[in-house]
């Protein structure tokens, strides 16, 4: 309906079901996204390189190559947000998907509005924030430059991990519940799946902590949530 000539973003849809893929394309176009469909797992990476999307919608069960492997491959090349489409809500599958590098997931059957909200939350980063620089422990966060450095050495974070760290670092006095983090970082309030937070905190810790077993930068507050450590 409200088709803009200038697209809000480019979305690569990797799904083997033609009807669903077409339906996704329709909904995305209505919401102002430009999309391309790839039906095979083994072709996903080349499609990704060619299309240069702002976000990838990735089905987990794909012919040619498993969605988990595709996710890992893309993550090796780029920090582009990846949202998994999954038919399984079992803990193991979701956690495996998130650990392989996905930022978020939606469980089929999903409501189009929900999907679009997630996509928007991941793509909204296109609006640049003001120039700002923060420190947490021995990490320096350059907000405008989307870069984190430790003693001048850059620490490589995906945009989501960067957002998570930034959210915690902006209010080091505050303990964030998982639900608040879901709302502020992932951009939604309902169907609070705290596994999403747990997995990403673990991944972020493995990148920024000196000893991920004894975290000092992202501290767990038992029974409540997480807060930025004072170092």
């Amino acid at each position: 309906m409200n088709v803009d000539l200038a697209p809000k973003g480019r979305v690569l849809v990797v799904d083997d079901d033609p009807s669903l893929a077409e339906m996704l394309a329709i909904v995305l176009r209505q919401e102002g996204f430009e999309s391309r469909v790839c039906a095979r797992g083994d072709l996903a990476l080349s499609a990704f390189r060619e299309f240069q999307p702002d976000l990838v919608l990735l089905d987990l069960m794909l012919p040619g190559k498993d969605g988990i492997d595709v996710c890992k491959e893309i993550r090796e090349e780029s920090g582009v947000p990846i949202v998994m489409l999954t038919a399984k809500s079992d803990t193991v599958d979701v956690v495996v998907g998130l650990e392989s590098g996905a930022d978020d997931y939606v469980v089929k059957p999903f409501k189009p509005k929900e999907l679009v909200a997630r996509i928007r939350a991941r793509v909204r980063r296109l609006d640049e924030p003001a120039h700002e620089s923060l420190t947490v422990a021995d990490l320096v966060i350059d907000v405008a430059g989307h870069a984190v450095t430790r003693n001048g050495t850059p620490v490589n974070l995906t945009p989501l991990e960067f957002d998570l760290l930034l959210c915690l670092a902006r209010k080091p006095w505050q303990v964030f519940t998982r639900e608040v983090l879901l709302e502020q970082v992932w951009g939604y309030r309902h169907s609070a799946d705290t596994r999403l937070v747990n997995v990403h905190v673990q991944r972020l810790r493995s990148k920024v902590e000196h000893d991920p077993e004894n975290p000092e930068i992202i501290v767990t507050v038992r029974g409540v949530g997480y807060k930025a450590g004072t170092g």
């Binding site: 669903l20 079992d90 189009p112 519940t177 609070a192 029974g223």
Partner: protein, 538 residues
């Protein structure tokens, strides 16, 4: 308290006694054989003694008789009347004394009969060193008058001059002799020692004791070995059975031989194999079921997603449609919602049935859960005009649980309560202690009969079939909640009273895997009229 170590030792011994067949068999056999061996030994010893003594007495009597005869012969051969009494007595006594020294007996010559003089008085001749008291008093009295020879047992006391006295068992034989010199009757006592017999007896005694002891050791060893042969396979079987029970289904008893124990082992193994087979079958079934659920889930969800998106696109575009098409789009939209909930509930239930449900354990604050659920259900509560209140302590109420599931349970209870509250208000109570945390959801609506509190958790059960399905619940909500509670090792229980409302209570152990003993919240609410008519279900 000071005695407790001793009692502990006693208790351990008693436990060992109760548990070990081997110990019981060995000890009872040992006690019985000890009794029998002692009886046999005692009889044997008695007979040996009697035989020995009888022999000795016969020999002694014969010897003393022959001595007396020889003495009489000597007396008759000596020319009689001219000799004086003293020398004739010497003639009589000395040869016997000498023979006694050679043959090993002592002699006492006393008399004359009827004088009433004790043996210790003068005129009594005896073997040097022999105490005259060795002749028993009863025997001496026997010869106060003229009598036949007689004998009795005695204790012979021999003392070296001035030295210590040696005592020993012996036999005293007495016989009377007529002395021609004065015509009086004198008594000759022969004292035969029984030392030899005594030694023999003690030897036999020692031999019997040794033999008895050895026999007991033999019996103990034998019963020990025999019971061990029987008990060892039983113990092995027990160990294998324990391992089987612990889930090591491939465990088997080793079979050797063809005896009863081997057959027991064979049957045991057959039982184990059959169990293993059936468990494998069940596991296969469960795996197939799980696989099926997962496949159905995936296969159904993809087309449903497409339909759902298409429906939403149509629903969003409904202002452009004519009235009936618009209504159709609306119906499609609403029914898709219901269909989706029903599908996900069914899949959840079959996941429980297949045993595929897993917990994602974390510290969960039940107060937070209650607040979130109340926030989430606010639109429904406002729509029904129901006020939902939370009563919670001002501190954390933690439980190690899967927050997604706990929230689902509480949401379910609150939605149900709002549904049945009849605009009267709903109270959420959160209470915890060191062992458990609980949430109770109380409504003051139509309530439940005590029979219905057992039925509410049944799948697709409805309080009143004729009642309108207002909130569009699937009828599976409470069944799923009950399974969720059970998965946590917790309780979900219902109380109800027609006209007074109902209370549902979720109790979770503080630590994952902990056992619940009681809930911090009473199942029957304190504000209810009665507290008797209640039913607890786990």
């Amino acid at each position: 308290m000071a005695d407790s170590p001793r009692y502990a030792g006693l208790r351990r011994a008693l436990t060992f006694w109760r548990r070990s067949i081997q110990a019981r068999v060995v000890v009872t056999t040992l006690v019985l054989s000890a009794v029998v061996i002692s009886a046999v030994g005692w009889l044997l010893l008695r007979q040996t003694r009697d035989g020995l003594l009888d022999n000795r007495v016969d020999a002694v009597l014969a010897e003393s008789a022959s001595e007396t005869l020889a003495a009489n012969t000597r007396l008759t051969q000596t020319p009689g009347t001219d000799t004086d009494v003293g020398s004739q007595l010497d003639d009589l006594f000395d040869p016997i004394k000498e023979r006694g020294a050679v043959r090993g007996f002592e002699v006492v010559l006393a008399g004359p009969v009827g004088s009433g003089k004790p043996l210790t008085a003068g005129g009594t001749r005896s073997t040097p060193g022999l105490a005259v008291a060795s002749v028993p008093e009863a025997l001496r009295q026997h010869f106060d008058v003229v009598a036949d020879p007689a004998w009795s047992y005695t204790t012979i006391q021999v003392g070296a001059a001035g030295g210590d006295v040696q005592q020993g068992p012996g036999i005293a034989v007495g016989s009377q002799i007529n002395l021609k010199a004065d015509g009086e009757t004198y008594v000759l006592y022969y004292l035969f020692s029984l030392d030899e017999e005594n030694q023999t007896l003690s030897l036999v005694n020692r031999a019997l004791l040794t033999a008895g002891a050895l026999l007991l050791v033999l019996v103990a060893a034998l019963t020990g070995i025999v019971t061990r042969q029987v008990v060892t396979p039983i113990r092995l079987a027990r160990r294998v059975a324990e391992r089987l029970a612990a889930g090591e289904l491939q465990e088997r008893v080793r079979v050797s031989g063809e005896d009863d124990l081997a057959r027991l082992a064979t049957s045991f193994n057959q039982m184990a194999s059959s169990l293993q087979r059936q468990i494998r079958q069940l596991e296969d079934l469960s795996r197939v079921q799980r696989r099926f659920v997962s496949d159905v889930s995936h296969e159904l969800r993809t087309p449903l997603t497409t339909v759902r998106m298409a429906g939403d696109v149509l629903y969003d575009a409904r202002p452009d449609f004519d009235a009936s098409t618009r209504r159709a789009a609306e119906l499609l939209h609403h029914e898709l919602d219901r269909f989706e909930t029903l599908l996900s509930d069914l899949l959840e239930i079959s996941r429980f049935d297949a045993g595929a449900a897993q917990l994602d354990i974390d510290d969960v604050n039940l107060v937070d859960v209650a607040r979130r659920v109340v926030d989430m259900t606010r639109p429904l509560a406002e729509q029904r005009g129901v006020q939902v209140l939370i009563q919670a302590p001002g501190r954390l109420c933690l439980a190690e649980a899967d927050v997604r599931r706990v929230e689902r349970v509480v949401r379910n209870l609150v939605t149900n309560a709002i549904d049945h509250a009849e605009s009267r208000g709903v109270l959420l109570q959160v209470v915890c202690d060191d062992h458990a945390s609980a949430i109770a959801v109380r409504d003051y609506g139509v309530g439940l009969t005590s029979g219905e509190t057992a039925l509410v958790f049944n799948r697709f059960w409805r309080a009143d079939p004729a009642r309108a399905r207002t909130s569009g619940g699937t009828g599976l909500g409470l069944s799923i909640s009950l399974e969720d509670a059970r998965l946590h090792g917790g309780w979900l229980q219902a109380w109800g009273r027609p006209g007074e409302g109902a209370q549902f209570r979720l109790t979770l152990p503080r630590r994952a895997g902990g056992r619940l003993r009681q809930s911090p919240i009473p199942l029957v609410p304190l504000d209810s009229m009665d507290s008797l008519d209640s039913q607890e279900l786990v």
